[in-house]
């Protein structure tokens, strides 16, 4: 053996079992909430390690992929694996964990940190009608940005709002991700064709592109590349594949309508 083997030193201070378990609980649940709500991989790893080291526990190892978190406190022989089934974008919860982690590094006591963590699950959501409405508004705004004509405005609004309604509505009953997007795109295609064929509509393509904007995985593609550039190749590939499948589902939904008409 050459002398290059790194020797992991024993911790300076030994904490009680309960204390370590509580810190472990906070760190791994923070990571889980971050991953389920759309944070980047490097931020999750950073936050979890930082929470552990704020409470004086060094040498914590984190491994995060889009579907699993493996977290170890090596000095205490503690390891857990958490499987993540669903991912969505809920930035309120990401902000909540960020706030918690900052307060912990400023010295928040353990018990109060656990209390605060448990309130993050009850993050405020926007009312359902507002979400649907903003889907419609997004459609209309993109119709303008993509140089559409004014006559097509109602179709873009109905398509955008209806697409989001179908997406969010079905998501409450089943989790079949790509099929939901397929049906939402199908609806948008039908709205566009009906409006152009039997109504005053003019530019079918622009209507459809504008109203699928709330569904398309643009942010996902960009995040996939960002993960890769930061060296998280696995996360980048998984997100890229998810984005490609979503785009195929939407393309298939609209394409089916175009072929049948």
């Amino acid at each position: 053996m050459s002398g290059e083997l790194e020797i992991i030193e024993a911790p300076d201070k030994v904490y009680s079992d309960d204390f370590v378990r509580d810190v472990f609980y906070i760190a791994i649940n923070s990571g889980k909430i971050l991953l389920e709500n759309g944070a980047e991989t490097y931020r999750i790893e950073d936050t979890m390690a930082r929470i552990a080291s704020s409470y004086g526990i060094e040498n914590a190892q984190v491994f995060v992929t889009p579907t699993v978190i493996i977290f170890s406190m090596n000095d205490y022989a503690l390891t857990q694996t958490v499987r993540i089934e669903e991912r969505a974008n809920n930035l309120e919860k990401v902000a909540g964990i960020n706030n918690l982690s900052r307060r912990i590094s400023e010295g928040l006591p353990l018990k109060r940190a656990i209390n605060q963590l448990e309130t993050i699950h009850e993050a405020r959501m926007f009312p359902f009608w507002l979400v649907i409405l903003s889907g419609g508004v997004i459609g209309v705004m993109f119709l303008y940005l993509f140089e559409g004509v004014f006559v097509d405005l109602p179709a873009a609004f109905i398509g955008g709002a209806g697409g989001v309604l179908i997406l969010e509505g079905i998501l409450r009953y089943t989790k079949l991700k790509f099929f939901i997007e397929f049906f939402a795109a199908l609806f948008i295609g039908i709205v566009g064709i009906v409006y152009v064929e039997y109504g005053p509509g003019q530019m079918l393509d622009t209507i459809v592109i504008a109203s699928v904007m709330p569904l398309v995985p643009g942010v996902l593609i960009t995040n996939a590349i960002r993960e890769m550039l930061r060296g998280h190749l696995l996360a980048g590939i998984v997100k890229g594949a998810e984005a490609a499948l979503t785009a195929i589902a939407i393309g298939a939904g609209v394409g089916l309508v175009f072929m049948l008409s």
Binding site: N89, V254, G255
Partner: protein
């Protein structure tokens, strides 16, 4: 006047996505402003004849700088402002076009759109990361200066 309309449209598009992604309420307006400014830079560059890849890169640089500024000011993670702000730039429409042509058996057109989507999103990602890197360099230089003074 057209610039004002463009700003308004991209503002509401980004803020609308803020609602879809359940962004914190007090961040919504900054999200919209971020998106609008990023889009304005993109629009100006494209009007001037730059190709969309370079224009997206420029837009992403400005909006990330704004996002970093907002995240320090409001003490919120920078991802909130970036996710909502890149919405108008992101090539979702192009990716959809690519897939629609694939579904309709028009593979040659599909290729063009797919490459454009990949390049544009690569440019946006690069814009975000290069601003973040510049920011971390500036922050560490600031820190060193402060240590010297102390």
């Amino acid at each position: 006047m057209i610039y004002v309309y463009q700003l308004i449209a991209s503002f509401f598009a980004s803020a609308g996505f803020g609602i879809l992604f359940n962004a914190p309420r007090r961040a919504l307006i900054s999200c919209g402003v971020n998106g609008a400014l990023g889009w304005l830079v993109f629009y100006l560059f494209r009007e001037g004849g730059t190709d969309p890849v370079l224009a997206s890169y420029a837009g992403a640089i400005l909006l990330t700088a704004m996002a970093l500024f907002n995240s320090r000011r409001m003490k919120m993670p920078v991802i909130i402002f970036i996710t909502c702000g890149i919405i108008p730039l992101v090539p979702g429409g192009t990716a959809y076009e690519a897939m629609r042509h694939v579904v309709m058996d028009q593979y040659m057109e599909a290729q063009g759109f797919a490459f454009e989507a990949a390049l544009v999103s690569g440019a946006i990602a690069l814009g975000i990361i290069s601003t973040e890197m510049a920011d971390s360099v500036i922050q560490s230089i600031k820190k060193k200066f402060n240590e010297k003074e102390a």
